[in-house]
Structure formats: structure tokens, C-alpha cells
């Protein structure tokens, strides 16, 4: 393997950088570290959801409406006596699964589109990027309305709508980087030894632009989680009885005067999640920035 020496070199280089980088994150950006810990807990709780609660999200208890926090119901109950803690956990499942699957979808489409456009250049680039220009200004909510209007409101359709709105920005970022990577010596070298275009793209081009994606994706998740909450809030997102934070906030509004906690709890969960993804994304972009790494290492 002619690449083995190079590969082990970069691996060890990454290892020496990676460990202090994690420590650095805690030391230099404690807020981002807290945010990362919060997200970790949130993901774990969402994964093991049914194990940490005795209730189901739709179990109504008409003898226990609008209860405050208590040992039996950590965050109290809602207007149907449903356990709020359970509903928040299931809401986290919806938010995270929509956010993560939409980000994976838009990254796949965006990276492919941007790489092909940037690598081939010329007329191909021109044609592909005009499509991006056209879609990039189109508001998320309008595409979501078009998609849910045609196919009906559902979880899958929301993800499709979000992928449709988010990928053009990723494609644009990736393309601008591919345009410069394309001219590097190692790509020229790969061509010279007769590597096929798909191999050059997968083996040499994409790995060298993918660092841009990590930061983008983290910041995008926060945007996508918020978009899902907005769609569920206006009633065209996740449909009841399945709980989602946006929909919980909407129903809570009717009881804002008597029981503000029905709005405060899901709104806090949503805001913390969105802000955490933003903090982690910004910390990552500082950590992964080669200039920053070189300056510190």
C-alpha cells in the first residue's frame, strides 16, 4: 500500500492534536463543554426514553390534571394529566431524529452536488449552481408548506421538506472549497497515476473538504430542530398524539395565564437544545480551523 506511511502519519498527528483539543475545549470554552454534555445527556435520554419513565406519552390521568412538579411527575402533568417529563423525552426523540436525519440527508445531497459542480467546473458547474441560486433564497417554511400540502403532514414529509431547503447552502460551501482542492498537487498526482474520477473524488477530494461539513452540520442541526418545532407549532408538523416540543408550546399557550409551565418547560427544552448546538458548532469551528490548530499545537 503506497499510502500506508502517509495514513499512519496523519493518524498519529490527529491523535496528538485530538486529545489536548478536547481538554482545550473544557478549559477555553467551558460553556461549549457544558452544552456538549447537555446534548450527550439529551441523546442518551432520548435513546433509552421508555426506560427512564413509568408513563407513556399519551397516558391520560383525569384525576391528576395540571399537577405541579412532584415525585410521581417530575415536571408535573398537562391538561389531560399526561406526564410532562415523558412528553419532553418523546419530544426530544422527535426533535433529534428529525434534526439528525435531515442533516444527514442534506449533507449527502449537498456534498455530492457541490463536489460534482466544483470538480467538473464549466457548463456543469454553471448549470448545477444556478439551481442552487434558485433554491437558496426560498424560505424553509414555504417549501415545507408545499411538501406537506401535497403529501400531507407527517414526520417523513417534514424531513423531506427540511432536506430540500437545507442542501443548497451546503452545496455552495462544498463547491467553493472543491474548486481550490481540485488544483492541488495530490489531485494532479492521482490523475497522473490513472485513478478514475469517482476514485479521485471519493479518495482525495471529498476527504479534504469534509471538515467544512462537520461545523456546518452541527450548526444546521440547531436550525433544523428549530424549523421542525416551528412547523409543529403552526400545526403542519408532527401530528398529535405524538408529542413534539413545538406542538406542546402551541397547546400550552391556551393555559399560559393559569399554568405557564406548560409553555415554559417545552420552550426551555427547545431553547437549550438549539443554543447548545450553536455553542458546540461554534467551538468546533474554532477547534477544527487549521489556522487555530497550527497556532496552538
Amino acid at each position: 500500500m503506497h499510502t500506508s506511511i502517509r495514513a499512519s502519519d496523519t493518524e498519529s498527528a490527529q491523535r496528538t492534536v485530538a486529545r489536548p483539543a478536547l481538554l482545550r475545549l473544557v478549559r477555553h470554552d467551558p460553556l461549549a463543554a457544558i452544552a456538549a454534555a447537555f446534548l450527550l445527556v439529551l441523546v442518551l435520554v432520548a435513546l433509552v426514553g421508555p426506560l427512564v419513565t413509568r408513563y407513556t406519552y399519551d397516558r391520560e390521568d383525569l384525576d391528576a390534571l395540571f399537577q405541579g412538579p412532584q415525585p410521581a411527575h417530575w415536571l408535573g402533568t398537562d391538561q389531560f394529566g399526561r406526564d410532562q417529563f415523558t412528553r419532553i423525552i418523546y419530544g426530544a426523540r422527535v426533535s433529534l431524529s428529525v434534526g439528525v436525519s435531515a442533516v444527514i440527508g442534506e449533507s449527502l445531497v449537498g456534498v455530492t452536488w457541490g463536489t460534482v459542480a466544483g470538480f467538473y467546473g464549466g457548463a456543469v458547474d454553471h448549470a448545477l449552481m444556478r439551481v442552487v441560486d434558485l433554491l437558496i433564497g426560498f424560505p424553509t417554511i414555504l417549501l415545507a408548506i408545499l411538501v406537506t400540502g401535497i403529501f400531507g403532514p407527517s414526520l417523513v414529509n417534514i424531513v423531506i421538506a427540511l432536506v430540500l431547503t437545507a442542501w443548497p447552502a451546503t452545496a455552495r460551501t462544498i463547491r467553493s472549497e472543491v474548486v481550490s482542492v481540485r488544483e492541488r498537487e495530490y489531485v494532479e498526482g492521482a490523475r497522473a497515476i490513472g485513478a478514475s474520477v469517482p476514485r479521485i473524488l471519493v479518495r482525495y477530494v471529498v476527504p479534504n473538504v469534509i471538515h467544512l461539513l462537520i461545523v456546518r452540520a452541527t450548526l444546521d442541526v440547531s436550525f433544523l430542530v428549530l424549523a421542525e418545532a416551528t412547523l409543529s407549532f403552526i400545526g403542519i408538523g408532527v401530528q398529535p398524539p405524538r408529542p413534539s416540543w413545538g406542538q406542546m408550546i402551541y397547546t400550552g399557550f391556551q393555559y399560559l395565564n393559569s399554568h405557564p409551565s406548560l409553555v415554559v418547560i417545552p420552550a426551555t427544552a427547545l431553547s437549550l437544545t438549539v443554543i447548545s448546538f450553536n455553542l458546540v458548532g461554534e467551538a468546533l469551528s474554532a477547534l477544527l480551523d487549521p489556522r487555530y490548530r497550527r497556532g496552538r499545537a
Binding site: L142, L146, G149, I150, P153, L226, T230, L256
Partner: protein
């Protein structure tokens, strides 16, 4: 300048036609037969065929599309699938002005307040006021609008009931919706204004004006604001787009009979003709806003004319 406007309008037309084609095609790809939806329980093959003929759905797709475009040119959007007596044009005609008025008010408020805050922050850089404004900007941009709405409703309609919780018709009904719509654009206009004014303050001509002994206020209005205005002008277009999209949350929340509510109801009732019309109206709105932004930008900055 005239050439640029012609070019820019020329760019907008294919975009709009493309959107119309997409929306039309989407309607034909949608699952479910509109004729069955309209007739519901009264559906028989004969009645279905008759209605299909009446609606023109038995003609070739290309002919249907041309007829559809012809209708659009006369601002005729057809009738609602769900309420056949209702003309879609009337529905949009009632709802659209309400949303536009709200958006326009929000933009005016956001531009005034945002510029004021941005200039205030730029002229008092690194003071307590500056940092306060900066924290406010971050909050305004990152807190979702329905959360700010909850806070505002709780404070000004429930705790101290000076404003109505929801409703439509009275002047005071505008205050909370406009505030909710204006907060995010206030934050980003303030941010742009701060950095733009901050940059101009460092220019040589400002230093020259100062050294000539011109009063600070005169320098601000004559030299600084004029030159710092361009980036702010472009964000006004953004603010308008933001207000149009934000209307989805605000109209649901405050029970306002605007175009966003029409669109949401159309989705929930699967009223396809109404949905088509609202999406087209939105596409047209965004095309027009982008057009105005680009043209005003070119007018203000001759360097970017093509």
C-alpha cells in the same frame, strides 16, 4: 440603470414561470383524486366524469397548464376544492392585505429601532450600553419567535393586561404581533448598522471632518450615516422576507385572518387550489422583494451595476 432593471426583471420572469410549473406539476403528482375529494360521499363514476369535465381535468396536461397560466394572468385562481362556492382570488384578496400591512409595519419598526440601536452601539463602542445592545442582539436572533411571543403575551396581556391576548380589528391588536415580527430583524439590522457605522467612523474623511472642528452630530448625519446606509438598506429586504415568514407563527398565535392562516388551513383541509394560489403569491412576493433589493442596491452603489 434602465438596462440593469430590464435585465433583473428578465431574470425574475423565468423564475416565476418555473415556480408556477412546479406547483402545477406537484398538484398532478399529489396522491388522491381531487374530484373524489370534492364529491366525497356523493361520488359516482358519472358524477365524477361530469365534474372532471367541468373542471377541465379531462383535457391534456399541457392544455391545462396553459389554461392555468391564462387564469393567473387574469389573477383568476379558480374556486376552492373544499368550498366550491368560494373564489380563491377573493380569499387571497381579503387575507393578503392584512399580512402585508403587518409585515410593512414590522419592517418600519425594525428599521427605525434597529438603526437607532446599531448607531447607538457603534458610537459608544465598548461601553455598558454597547454590550447591553450586543447581548440583546444575540438573544433577539437566537430565541425562536414563538418563545418571545409567549413572554410578551404573558407580560403585556396577562400579567399587566394593557394589550389584548389575541384578536383582530382594533389598533391595539397590532402591537404584540408587530413586536414579535420586528424583534429578529431589529437584532440583525442593529448588528449590520453597528459594524457598518463602526467601519465608516474609522475613515479618513471622518477624521478630516473632526479635525476641521465640525460638531459630532453633523458629522454623524452628513458623513457617517450616508456612507453606512448601504448595507442597512439591503437588510430591509431581508427583514420584509422575515416578516412574511414569521407571519405563520404570529397569525396562528394571535388569530389573525392573514394569508399564512389561509395557507395552513388549505394544507389541513387539503384544499389544493387555495394552496396553489398561496404558494404562488408567496413566490411572487419574494421575487418582488428580491428585485427591489437588488435594484435599490444597484441604484445606491454604481459599482455593482452589471
Amino acid at each position: 440603470m434602465a438596462r440593469y432593471v430590464v435585465y433583473r426583471v428578465g431574470m425574475a420572469i423565468p423564475l416565476f414561470l418555473g415556480a408556477a410549473l412546479l406547483i402545477f406539476a406537484a398538484g398532478h403528482l399529489a396522491p388522491g383524486d381531487p374530484v373524489q375529494t370534492v364529491l366525497g360521499d356523493h361520488y359516482t363514476p358519472a358524477a365524477g366524469a361530469m365534474l372532471r369535465h367541468q373542471l377541465g381535468l379531462d383535457r391534456p396536461v399541457a392544455v391545462q397548464f396553459l389554461q392555468y397560466l391564462g387564469g393567473l394572468a387574469r389573477l383568476d385562481f379558480g374556486t376552492s376544492y373544499v368550498n366550491p362556492g368560494l373564489r380563491v382570488g377573493d380569499l387571497v384578496g381579503h387575507a393578503l392585505p392584512i399580512s402585508l400591512r403587518l409585515a410593512a409595519l414590522a419592517v418600519v419598526v425594525a428599521t427605525l429601532v434597529g438603526t437607532l440601536l446599531g448607531v447607538g452601539a457603534a458610537t459608544t463602542q465598548r461601553s455598558a450600553l454597547d454590550s447591553l445592545i450586543q447581548v440583546g442582539m444575540v438573544l433577539g436572533l437566537s430565541v425562536p419567535s414563538f418563545v418571545t411571543a409567549a413572554v410578551l403575551v404573558y407580560m403585556f396581556a396577562l400579567r399587566w393586561p394593557v394589550l389584548p391576548v389575541a384578536g383582530w380589528g382594533l389598533p391595539q391588536d397590532y402591537v404584540l404581533p408587530v413586536a414579535v415580527l420586528a424583534i429578529p430583524p431589529v437584532a440583525f439590522i442593529a448588528r449590520i448598522a453597528r459594524s457598518s457605522v463602526g467601519e465608516v467612523l474609522l475613515e479618513d474623511y471622518v477624521r478630516t471632518a473632526r479635525s476641521k472642528g465640525i460638531r459630532a452630530r453633523r458629522i454623524l448625519f452628513r458623513h457617517v450615516l450616508r456612507n453606512a446606509a448601504l448595507p442597512v438598506v439591503t437588510t430591509i429586504g431581508l427583514a420584509f422576507g422575515n416578516a412574511i415568514v414569521g407571519a405563520f407563527v404570529v397569525e396562528v398565535l394571535f388569530n389573525i385572518p392573514g394569508i399564512a392562516r389561509v395557507a395552513i388551513n388549505a394544507i389541513l383541509q387539503r384544499d389544493y387550489t387555495v394552496l396553489q394560489a398561496t404558494v404562488l403569491v408567496y413566490t411572487a412576493l419574494f421575487s418582488i422583494v428580491n428585485l427591489i433589493v437588488d435594484v435599490s442596491y444597484a441604484y445606491l452603489n454604481p459599482r455593482i451595476r452589471y
